[in-house]
Structure formats: C-alpha cells, structure tokens
C-alpha cells in the first residue's frame, strides 16, 4: 500500500485546497493509499516504522526536506522506496535535485515509479540525503587520511551527496548521489563575490568517503533541516536508499 506521510505543517488551513488537489490527482492516477498526518502528538518516525511493519509498498513524504530527513533513516537498506511530493518552494532542494519540481509533476513521477538506488550521508547516527553544512570559521576538518585542510577565509563547509542548486559548482565537477563518495566543498565568502553572478570564485572541492568535522561553537545542519552538535564523523552509505526520481534529475 502507498503510505502518504503528511508533515505537521500541512495541518494549517492554508494547505487544505492544495492537499485536496493532490488527493484528487492521486485518485485519478489510481495511486491512492493511506494518508497519515503527523502532528505534535504523532511523530513521523513512529508512523513510518509502523507502516513498514504492516507491509507498506511505498512511503511518500508530503512536505519538505525536513519531512524527508525524518524518514530516510528508517528506509536505509529497505527495498521500500521513498517518493516525494514537495510542498512550497522553500527547503525543497532535495525534491528539485531528484527532478521533482512541482506537486503535479510529483504525482506523475510517483505514477511512473522510476527507481534509483542512492547513497546517503551518515553523520554520527543521523542520515542525510542532500548535504551537511557548517560554518568554516573555527571548524577543524580531519580527512582521516594523511593530510589536513585549513581554510584561511570565513565561509561554509558543505558535505554534498546530491547536487544543490544553492551551491554553485564549476561545470566540470559532477556530483553523483550513487557513486559511493561525498564531495567536501569549502566556499569562502568574499566581499568581492557578494554581487558576483558566479559564487564559485573561491571554492575547494575534495572527494571523500570519510571526514571528521569538529566545531564546538557551531552546529552541523543536515539537509537544511536538522541541527546536530560536532564532532561528527561523516561517512557514506553506498546506495542505501531506494528513491522514486524524475527524468529531469540532475545526475
């Protein structure tokens, strides 16, 4: 059975019409299943766990990156795929990276059921599908290898699994979420670049399988949604998640 997990923010009245439209479209496509609305009293994790036990065929995250972040850890290693119906423009980079731009397109993609087995990043015990980000000021990056990296200007450090439109990279750098490696991107903030069209003026890119990030004064943000303290050991879980993707995905 298809399990539609509605994030708690969709309990607001302003989403009623949009949700009704989605439900109509889902019914038209013959994809109906069970709708599970999360709330303060009913968290997404527990719901997904229960539905997987009951034999869910597909888990559909209806919401944003945060909704996805709460689900992916429970689907690691499972054959049950994750599908996404993105609601709103903000904090939906993951859906866009997977080629899912709109609600209508998401329904069609769910119907087409094009599956891809994607890597996941793992920061201590927390999984991420897109990126882990932290300020580089005061951050120590230990490559668990024979070398260390020091950033001499302030900026951000991203560990990327899935290409993110907000982080512009040189065209010759390809980010593939199924290659078993992550990309460590250090972007320096420069006054000269503030009004520049290209944000890749001062970037460093390293392909990694493991990195330890530590900054006692800053939090590591996973998929733009979940904050966690450091030190964090980040590794890659190769092709650990089955995902329904769109044809226009960026990999």
């Amino acid at each position: 059975m298809n399990i539609f997990i509605y994030d708690s923010f969709l309990n607001q009245k302003k989403y009623d019409r949009l949700l009704a439209r989605i439900e109509t479209r889902i019914t038209d496509l013959g994809l109906n299943g069970k709708i599970s609305r999360s709330s303060l009293m009913r968290n997404i994790g527990e719901t997904v766990k229960n539905e997987l036990k009951r034999g869910a065929k597909t888990i559909i995250a209806v919401g944003n990156n945060k909704t996805i972040s709460q689900i992916i850890g429970l689907l690691v290693g499972s054959s049950v795929p994750l599908a996404i119906i993105p609601i709103g423009e903000e904090n939906n980079d993951i859906a866009r990276g997977l080629g899912i731009e709109s609600v209508d397109q998401a329904c069609d993609i769910l119907s087409a059921r094009l599956l891809a087995r994607l890597d996941l990043g793992l920061a201590n015990q927390n999984y991420f599908l897109s990126d882990a980000t932290i300020e580089n000021q005061g951050t120590v990056v230990d490559m668990s290898d024979n070398y260390t990296i020091e950033a001499t200007k302030t900026g951000l450090i991203h560990v990327l699994n899935l290409a993110n439109a907000k982080i512009k990279l040189p065209p010759k750098v390809k980010i593939l979420p199924d290659d078993g490696v992550l990309e460590l991107v250090i972007s320096a903030q420069s006054k000269k670049n503030l009004f520049s069209k290209s944000a890749r003026g001062d970037q460093s890119i390293f392909k990694i399988k493991k990195v330890i990030i530590n900054n006692p004064k800053a939090q590591l943000i996973l998929d733009g949604s979940i904050s966690m303290p450091t030190p964090a050991t980040i590794t890659v879980v190769k092709q650990g998640l089955n995902v329904i993707v769109g044809k226009s995905r960026n990999f």
Binding site: A151, G155, P170, K172
Partner: protein, 130 residues
Amino acid sequence: MFNKQAQGGTSSEFETVIGPSVKVKGDFNAQGNIIVEGMVEGSLKTAGSLEVGEKAKVTANVEAREAKIGGEIRGNIKIKGFLEITAAAKIFGDIEAAFISIERGATFNGKCAMPTGVEDIKKINKDKAN
C-alpha cells in the same frame, strides 16, 4: 593540457579543487584531476592531470600524469607525460617529464631530465665501454 584528444586523457572532470583560501598540509594522493589555486605543503600525487594556478604556492614534491604549472612550486616535479610551464611559473626544484614546454618568462631553478633521453645516454655509455 586537458585536451583529451591531444594528450590521450580519459576525462576532463576535476576530482579535486584546492581553492585560493585553502591550505592542504600532508601527503595528498588522488586518482583524478586536480586544480591547485591555494597552498599545498607536503607531497602531491595524482594519477590524473594537475593544474597549478598562478597564485598557488606548492611546497611539495609533485607527481602527476600531466601538468600545467602557472604558480610557485618548491620541490621536485615528476610528470609521466607532458609538462607545460607557463610564463608566471616559478619552479625551485628538479623536473622529470617525458615532454616539456617552458614559456618565456618562467623561472626555473633546478635540473631537468627526460626519461627517454637518460635511457638513450645510458645505452650510448654502455656501448662506448664495450
């Protein structure tokens, strides 16, 4: 340098970019192509191509399949294929490469060896001894 057909490369994608605001310390080994625009201290090895930008400062022994050097390198350079040294380059160390091009204006203080030439000289010396 990164022309696939001319140099027989297999990929024009970069695995590693060391930007101007980053300093790498230690033994850096890679398989793919590398661009260095920042600082490297230690050693730098890749099975792919290496490009050292004009503002880069590398204090390391360098090994690569092919390389284009525009910045400062203090250390020995060993290139299997073609080494291109541009006008802005400053090299303080020995060079070993199969093919070399040095642009007018470049600074180079060190010895230069081309493996095929060395082998030929050894053969000539052996013949003379016999």
